[in-house]
Symmetry: C2
Subunit: 370 residues, 2 copies
């Protein structure tokens, strides 16, 4: 007795044609440790956008009810060769109500409960999820729980990773984002130093209002001096960047090196030995990353993804992190949404044009049954 | 009873004027663990060139006996701000004969011996060196021992670092260099896989002649296919690059990712989870490093310097490495020179114009007493 509902799929053909459309899907009865979740809320995170619209020309796309067809220009289309011809689901995370379960005790215990989950096809009226990856929401609404995984666990992951690496301060290059605000609260709670970089004065205000001590505005003339002073003050030689392309990481390394060199008693042509560490965890800028040869050899840059980090952190740490998220869902880890759209509305020109800009504080929530 | 001799100094002023000149210097009698070495041979390594000529306009420099004055253009001059006004010695390493020692047993034991050393002012007729950093050359000539530190320990350091990180293969982006040839022999001796990238057919021949199995010529049309096949064959997801600027590292990461993706059973928008690791250990290209967003997030790029590595490796490992170098100085770790110049000759337009190009296999040796 399968359940039928609408689900979003995204398909990129070899010629660059991107089709994103709803289809009626039959969801089989859950077995074993599976649960069937009636999805009520799913956020559109930057990490979802790559597969939803990517670099497609959405201005000249063709929109029809429950569908758009767009063209992905080169070289981006060729760069996505690995997905050519594949019909992929989308939506990393969301929340809903468990309406059927498999036979395992863990699955059965969730029957009728509101849970958040990370199914990978959250833009759907139903999802099959693993009980072990579901977070029971208790008294929280599904809207409160919709974004309880990607941003909260990533922000917490930064703090955990920093501590594992013996750091007591973090630099974050997009401080005012939803994730940046969570990180600001986490660092306060954990006594970690934090240097937040923002682009506007009102973002400085926003972060200071929630207790941030070091907020640097990159649009100000003395940005580098301010950034250097903040790093000197906190000792943040370790940072995270969701921009990826351009000189965002380069700027951070330069400022770190200025601080390190100012602390050296003797000149070295090789730069300082102060280890400087940056992680790129997103691609808000899909251009190339540029690193100038101006901070010696004592630096390391890595990509950073949540799932590999959680795997390396181990089950015990992950369980502790998830409990902390659930216990602080409407405080430390609260998310805010600009707009709610259903599955049809999220595929209109108006909606796509707006959410693809990924403006700070303007996140969309997909509510499949509204 | 100080000893007097000629020594080279390099000075960059704030206005970009670079003066490299010989001066008569008085070397005090060595004390404690110090030895005084009459220097007979010192190589000009790429790592020496940054401080000797850097980005200076050597075509329009003023040359006089034992001196040149050149201009370092912007932005390179501003990038060297930390050394403005400092008169610096040059020459990382060299070899000579110990002619006086301090009172320590280690120092006294070296009296009269030929040693190699890493004084930092090797372009000089005399150097004061620490006995602990001197390598007695036994029957070897000082020319044979002149390059026994920087290249041999760096090449050995790559192999040691790879093993510490659980790797059994290495990629090297400038395979035919003096260091690359050493690395080729080391990897054979240690049973490590090695992918050598070269730019010319005769370099392929050269490396194959000394036993290299995977040599890829970047000037051939099917370079990427060859590189990918070599990585697939060796499992070299771990590499070293002395170029720094441009797309050398990017190309390596791209090829590694192609191999990793070809081994995946399922598409992931985030790329492969195969860890990919590159180290930049030189700046043959002083331009910016460009990293394209085409190999997901499972990569790490670091600067790599010999001295910090040796410090992290510990005294026991370093002693073992040095012994291996000394025992194989004219085989595994042999260096070859294009030309010998004395201190005056190394500052002529003819010599500078030639050695600054850092052509593969065209290293200069400074012989201060010739």
């Amino acid at each position: 007795m399968a359940t039928t509902g609408k689900q979003l799929f995204t398909t990129l053909e070899a010629d660059g044609t991107l089709t994103v459309a709803l289809e009626d899907v039959s969801f089989p009865d859950p077995t074993g440790n599976q649960v069937l979740v009636k999805m009520e809320a799913a956020p559109i995170n930057p990490s979802d956008l790559a597969i939803l619209v990517g670099a497609a020309d959405m201005e000249n796309a063709t929109y029809s009810p429950g569908k758009f067809v767009a063209t992905v220009p080169e070289p981006y289309n060729a760069g996505s060769k690995a997905r050519h011809g594949l019909k992929l689901p989308a939506g990393n995370e969301g929340a809903g109500t468990v309406i059927a379960t498999g036979d395992s005790d863990a699955a059965k215990a969730l029957m009728g409960q509101r849970v958040s989950c990370v199914p990978g096809n959250a833009y759907s009226q139903y999802c099959t999820a693993d009980a072990g990856m579901c977070l029971p929401l208790g008294d929280h609404s599904t809207e409160e729980g919709a974004s309880s995984f990607v941003n909260p666990m990533t922000a917490l992951g930064f703090a955990e990773n920093a501590k594992m690496d013996g750091q007591d301060a973090i630099l974050h290059t997009v401080g005012a984002s939803n994730l940046g605000q969570m990180l600001t609260r986490i660092c306060q709670e954990d006594g970690l130093g934090l240097v937040n970089i923002v682009r506007k004065d009102d973002q400085v205000e926003l972060l200071k209002k929630i207790g941030a001590t070091h907020v640097v505005n990159s649009s100000q003339d003395d940005f580098m001096a301010q950034l250097t002073a903040a790093i000197d003050d906190t000792g943040a030689f370790y940072g995270f960047d969701p921009i990826g392309g351009g000189t965002s990481v380069d700027t951070a390394f330069k400022a770190m090196e200025r601080v390190a060199v100012s602390r050296m008693s003797e000149y070295s042509r090789y730069g300082s030995n102060q280890p400087k560490r940056m992680f790129i965890y997103g691609r808000l800028d899909t251009g190339a990353t540029t690193l100038s040869p101006s901070y010696g050899f004592g630096w390391t840059l890595s990509g950073w993804l949540l799932f590999p980090f959680l795997q390396s952190a181990g089950a015990e740490t992950v369980a502790r992190m998830r409990k902390r998220v659930r216990d602080n869902l409407t405080t430390t880890f609260a998310s805010h949404y600009k707009k709610r759209v259903n599955l049809e509305e999220m595929l209109t020109k108006e909606a796509v044009s707006d959410y693809r800009t990924m403006k700070t504080g303007e996140k969309y929530l997909v509510t499949p049954w509204s």
